[in-house]
Subunit: 150 residues, 3 copies
C-alpha cells in the first residue's frame, strides 16, 4: 500500500462546462474529450474530477475502453432490460424511447467522480468514460466538470 500526502495549503476548485456534439443512441467513449476540457488536471497531485450530465435521458459511466463490441452489448442489454413497448408506461407522450431513457439514465447515473493522481485521471488500464445516449435523437449534451484537489 503506497500513499501520497498532499500539502493542505493549496486546495484548488475549478469549474468547467463541456458541450458534447450530438451522438447516435448508444454508448460512446469520451475520455479524451473530457481530459482536454480540463487541462488543470495536470497541476494536481491528488484530487477528484466530478462530471455531471445536465439531462435526464443520457448518463455517464466507466467501462471497457477497447472493444466496440462491449459498447454494442451494453446497448443490447439495456434495450431488453428496459423495453420501449412495456404496457405499464404512462409517460409516453415524448415518444417510445423517452421513458426507457429516464430509467436507463438513473440505472447508470447522471454523474461520475474520478480520482486524480499525479496530474492524470487514475483510471485502470481498461477504463474509459462512456457517454450513454439513451434517446434516438438526444442532440447536444451539456456536462459540468468540477475539479478539486491539491
Amino acid at each position: 500500500m503506497r500513499h501520497r500526502r498532499a500539502a493542505s495549503v493549496a486546495a484548488v476548485w475549478i469549474g468547467r462546462d463541456l458541450q458534447l456534439e450530438p451522438r447516435r443512441r448508444g454508448f460512446h467513449l469520451i475520455t479524451s474529450e473530457v481530459v482536454e476540457a480540463i487541462p488543470e488536471l495536470s497541476q494536481l497531485a491528488v484530487g477528484l474530477l466530478h462530471l455531471q450530465i445536465q439531462h435526464t435521458s443520457a448518463s455517464l459511466t466507466l467501462n471497457e475502453n477497447a472493444s466496440p463490441d462491449v459498447r454494442a452489448d451494453f446497448e443490447s442489454w439495456f434495450n431488453r432490460a428496459v423495453p420501449e413497448d412495456a404496457p405499464y408506461w404512462r409517460h409516453t407522450l415524448e415518444g417510445p424511447d423517452d421513458m426507457p431513457a429516464h430509467v436507463k439514465a438513473s440505472l447508470l447515473d447522471p454523474s461520475l467522480t474520478l480520482a486524480v493522481r499525479d496530474g492524470r485521471l487514475a483510471l485502470g488500464t481498461w477504463q474509459g468514460i462512456y457517454l450513454c445516449e439513451h434517446r434516438d435523437r438526444g442532440g447536444s449534451r451539456s456536462l459540468v466538470l468540477t475539479l478539486a484537489g491539491a
Copy 2:
C-alpha cells in the same frame, strides 16, 4: 467552453444532517428540501454537494422533475425488474418488500454528488433530486449532506 476558476485560498467544508419525513413507497422529489437544508450553498462559486442516505432500502437519484407519471413509471419498472416473489430470495424474514428494496437501493445508489455553481446546484432544467423509497413502510429517512468548495 466557459470556465470559472475559484480562488484557492478559501476552501469550505460544511456538514449537515437532514431528516426526511416518512413517505409512501415510490419516487419523490426532494430538491427544495435539500437546498433549504444547506443554505451555505449560496456562498460557493464552485463546489460539490454530496448526499448520502444512511439506509440500505431507500436510495437517491437525479431524474425528471416535472411529470408525476415519470415517477410512477420508475416504480412500475423497478417492481417488475426486482420481483418480490422471486423463488431465489433467501433473505425473506423482514417481509417480501425487503430484499427487493436492497437490490433497488444499490441499482440506484445510496449517494449522489452534485455540482455547485454561483451559489446554486448546477442542475439541468429538467433535473430534480429523487428520494427512492423502496419499502412499504420505510419510516423517516436520514440524509447526511456534505458541501465543499470555494
Copy 3:
C-alpha cells in the same frame, strides 16, 4: 437538523492505494479493510472518502452489513438480470462471465463516495461497503482511495 461547520483553513487531500486479495465471485464486505487503509480518516471533522476500483468487471456499492443471505441474494438477482447465455452478446472471447461482468459493474458503479464525520465514515447502522466481484476468477483488485476534508 444539526450542523457542523469546519474551519476553512485546513483542507486536506490524501491519496492511498489499496490492493484487495482475490475473492470468489459474489458480494463481499470490505468496510474494515477500507477504513484500515486510510487511518487519516480519524483526523477529519467533515469530509468525503472516494473509492474507485480500477477494473471494469468488478464494482463497489453500499448495502446491508449483517446477513450473508443478502449478499447471496444480490448474486442470484444479478445472475438472472444479466444472463451469461444471452444470444445477443457479441463480446464473448473472454469467457461467458466477462460481458455480464461489464454490465453488472456499470449498474453498481466503479466508484463510491462516502461522507466522513468526526473522524469516521458516516455510515448508517446497517451500511457496509461491498466489493462486487463479477468474474469467476477476478484476481486481485486495485482500489484508489481519495480522502478530502477539514
